[in-house]
Symmetry: C2
Subunit: 201 residues, 2 copies
């Protein structure tokens, strides 16, 4: 029985739980914890405990507390970017809308991770229309660009991008913060985030 063999291995050599580095194990455990607790309840000590390692061991792999959640956020952004681009494959207004719907669904499926990703970023100096990290905004902008009428200015692009992003981000946050009945809102995602409603006029 393969699964038995696996668990025996793990019991026999506890270190094998974090094969390939405690760093990876800690990140995996962080993601796992985010499935069941609030983003701000993440603590180094809890993660270390669950991984089966002393509280201070993580300092070999992360310079301080903040760098672990921010690494998790990076992973989250990569996953989100992948889901957005997969959903938007068909291109055009329909693909763009589908990718907006995927954005909201991602948030509903991984609420704490999503919240962590978008927790207040330290004020950076962006050039005016530059993007925040994570490249989710890059995807949005790429999606928008193909849909703008000829002769639109960069301001037009930016406004259309921000409008679309606001729509999906707001819907996600309202659901996550329980300002809105989750079931009812989720059932309406496709309707609210439709090719019509993100019309880049």
């Amino acid at each position: 029985m393969v699964s038995n063999a696996n668990s025996v291995n793990i019991n026999a050599d506890e270190r094998s739980y974090h094969h390939g580095g405690l760093r990876e194990a800690a990140l995996a455990e962080g993601l796992r914890l985010l499935e069941s607790c609030d983003a701000d309840a993440l603590s180094l000590r809890q993660i270390a405990r669950n991984v089966g390692v002393s509280a201070t061991a993580l300092y070999r792999h992360f310079p301080d507390k903040n760098s672990l959640p921010s690494a998790l956020a990076g992973i989250g952004f990569a996953q989100l970017a992948e889901e957005l681009s997969r959903a938007g494959l068909r291109g055009g207004a329909e693909g763009f809308a589908a990718s907006g719907q995927a954005y909201v669904r991602f948030a509903v499926a991984r609420p704490s991770l999503f919240r962590l990703m978008f927790a207040k970023m330290p004020a950076e100096s962006h050039p005016e229309f530059d993007n925040p990290p994570g490249s989710a905004a890059h995807l949005l902008q790429r999606g928008i660009r193909g849909m703008m009428p000829p002769g639109s200015t960069p301001h037009d692009h930016y406004a259309a991008m921000l409008r679309a992003w606001s729509l999906v981000h707001g819907l996600a946050m309202l659901i996550l913060d329980r300002q809105v009945d989750e079931q009812a809102a989720v059932a309406m995602i496709d309707r609210i985030v439709s090719a019509d409603s993100i019309n880049v006029g």
Copy 2:
């Protein structure tokens, strides 16, 4: 000098700082703190300290920690509702858009209070289309209702309301969480939240 007289009064009788009840003084101090620190950094002890009272005195006026921030959120919702309805006075699509713009400006002007108001609410059981507390959603729904084409269903109303709310809430959150350059985004509020873009098709 009036201002001197004031401060002399306060010095002479320290209790006068919380005239009319420690409760009001604590709430006022809470609002004041929210202007300069994060919503989740609010603590009973800090407020008591700033009001000049022992840490435990607040328990005479608030049953526990949570009830203070949630009272602050209530105040915030009342202010928001007032600003929304003032902005929307002229009625129609223009008034509705103006009130959406006011929503975003409220958030930008009082970021921590806004965040506190919309921090995750305990899951309640709403009837399907019922509203969260605070009546901001009531105003939104009222605004929407006058603009729907005849023959629209309650589902139509709800979808239009949620779309408009998502747009302004998302724009507000993206700015507050620094996902977007604040200056650039604020300069575009009117453009992003326009009578066109919240067209209740």
